[in-house]
Amino acid sequence: MASEIMTSPASAGGDTPNKRPLLASLRHVDKVFGTDVVALKDMSLDIHQGDFISLLGPSGCGKSTALRIITGLMQPSRGKMHWEDPEAANNLGVVFQEPTLMPWATVEKNVYLPHKLKGTPKSRVQNDIDEVLELVGLDKFAGAYPRELSGGMKMRVSIARALATRPRLILMDEPFAALDEITRQKLNDDLLHLKSKINCTVIFVTHSVFESVFLSDRIVVMARRPGRVIEEIRVDAPYPRDLEFRTSAEYGEIARRTSDALLSAIGDGDDH
């Protein structure tokens, strides 16, 4: 299992995922619900600083469960969630499939939430808030309520909130799955742009092959029943990635391989 395939010789000059310092890792993690639902079986994953990791797999293969274990919302049944620097565990950014905003609060107050819950006065972080709002292009909407925004804009607020405390690790659970294709591509571009600016680590759950290839430098393909990692595919194309990468032969080749891996992941399950 977990075979590693090098797609192409390291092209990003030294900064390849396996040379970056370790941030955290899942070590032989099992998660069992009830007595017989094995959501994760022996999952190991090293997360390095600066990685963009996609978890790709059919629904029910334990992607969300893995994220919940990383956030600490859930404890593994067996194995361990290890943090190199425990401080990083206390400062996470999370984005869900739904924007998950507080409808009664303005955009700005939604973005302030993580700071507020940590007891930081708003005046002290006002600059940070303004800055992230500008980063996601919503500085003009600071005073708007969520219902006044489109789906894509709400998702941007959600991302701004996740970035507000400048976390080392950002976890995103199918964040763009509910958006239309055009909005989704725009947000993919913007996400890469953001990541290059603030230099964080991202774990991104998706069931879109193309999204995972475009965004990540590591694609972790998972299968279900039991939920497990079956393959890791590396994408060594340098950032920034743009339309040119999306139409390149390299992209097509990796996408094909990723699709094959995903197909075998689906074939591995005992039902669909």
Binding site: T71, N90, F96, T100, P103, W104, K116, K118, Y145, P146
Partner: protein
């Protein structure tokens, strides 16, 4: 008609300005009709009914002690206004007092329930028993056990009003978005922060829904309380005035007091609807008027 071109038609023919096709025109007409009908229909029906009532009482020569005409009722209302307004004040005080107590009791209990599932399990059966027991049936007991008239009446009105606030608030507090809940956990929110910044705002719309129901019930409770407990010798409330008038077959007096009860109920409803709108219109779907 052939020579008469509307401005829109001209603009459309010249290829500039907004094009208003017949469908759009029909829709705008329908919108206008809808808007006018919204207040014209109820007011029109009201005027027609009152007019018919007035006409019928006069035409059929129905005596006042069976059914007074609207004009007689209004005259009676003004004639009795000094004493009626004192009674109104009594009823109003009981109603508002019961509503405030129901708000504190129902809302407080709901918060307590969300804080401790054990307390909810222990108390819920008693809350339900209290709710399903017909208040009239236990009125004599309340009369027996509680000495102060004011406390008795408030207690009765409170029992009637508090349940919708409790059940609505509890439902609202429980139905917070589970992702937001997780987010609060991830950010290490304290119990108090979760209550204050997540659960209470989430529950506000359903709490206010409960308040609107309870407002009407508090008034009913205040009336029922006085029917069953009497006036207590002090300033009699509107319910007691209705009873008193009925004993003496002073039917116009009865109607005059009844009109005040109804107006009070409508006023309470409107005030609570306004408060709801004030608090929710910026963010909650229920309070948003869509085009």
């Amino acid at each position: 008609m052939i020579t008469e071109d509307t401005a829109e038609n001209k603009a459309a023919l010249m290829g500039s300005g907004p094009v208003v096709d017949s469908e759009e025109a029909a829709r705008q007409r329908a919108k206008k009709v809808e808007k006018i009908a919204g207040f014209a229909l109820p007011i029109g029906l009201f005027v027609a009914l009152i007019g018919f009532w007035e006409y019928w009482v006069v035409a059929a020569e129905i005596p006042h002690y069976i059914l007074p005409s609207p004009s007689v009722i209004i005259a009676k209302l003004f004639e009795n206004l000094p004493s009626l307004s004192i009674s109104w004040w009594t009823t109003f005080k009981i109603t508002v007092g019961a509503l405030v107590l129901a708000m504190l009791g129902g809302g407080g209990l709901a918060v307590l329930f969300t804080q401790s599932r054990r307390i909810e399990q222990a108390l819920m059966p008693y809350v339900i028993v209290l709710q399903v027991t017909p208040i009239i049936a236990i009125a004599p007991l309340i009369f027996l056990y509680i000495d102060s008239h004011m406390v008795r009446v408030l207690f009765v009105a409170w029992i009637v009003a508090f349940f919708p606030i409790l059940s609505n608030s509890a439902l609202g507090l429980r139905s917070t978005d589970h992702n937001l809940n997780d987010l609060f956990t991830i950010y290490g929110a304290s119990r108090w922060q979760r209550l204050r910044f997540l659960q209470l705002p989430s529950a506000l719309p359903s709490f206010l829904g409960g308040m609107r129901i309870a407002g009407g019930l508090a008034l009913i409770g205040a009336v029922v309380a006085e029917f069953t407990m009497g006036s207590g010798g002090n300033a009699a409330g509107l319910a007691f005035r209705i009873l008193e008038a009925s004993y003496r077959l002073k039917v116009p007096d009865m109607f005059a007091a009844l009109v005040l009860v109804i107006l009070t109920g409508v006023a309470i409803y409107l005030i609570l609807a306004w408060v709801t709108w004030k608090l929710l219109h910026k963010w909650h779907e229920s309070a948003i008027t869509r085009e």
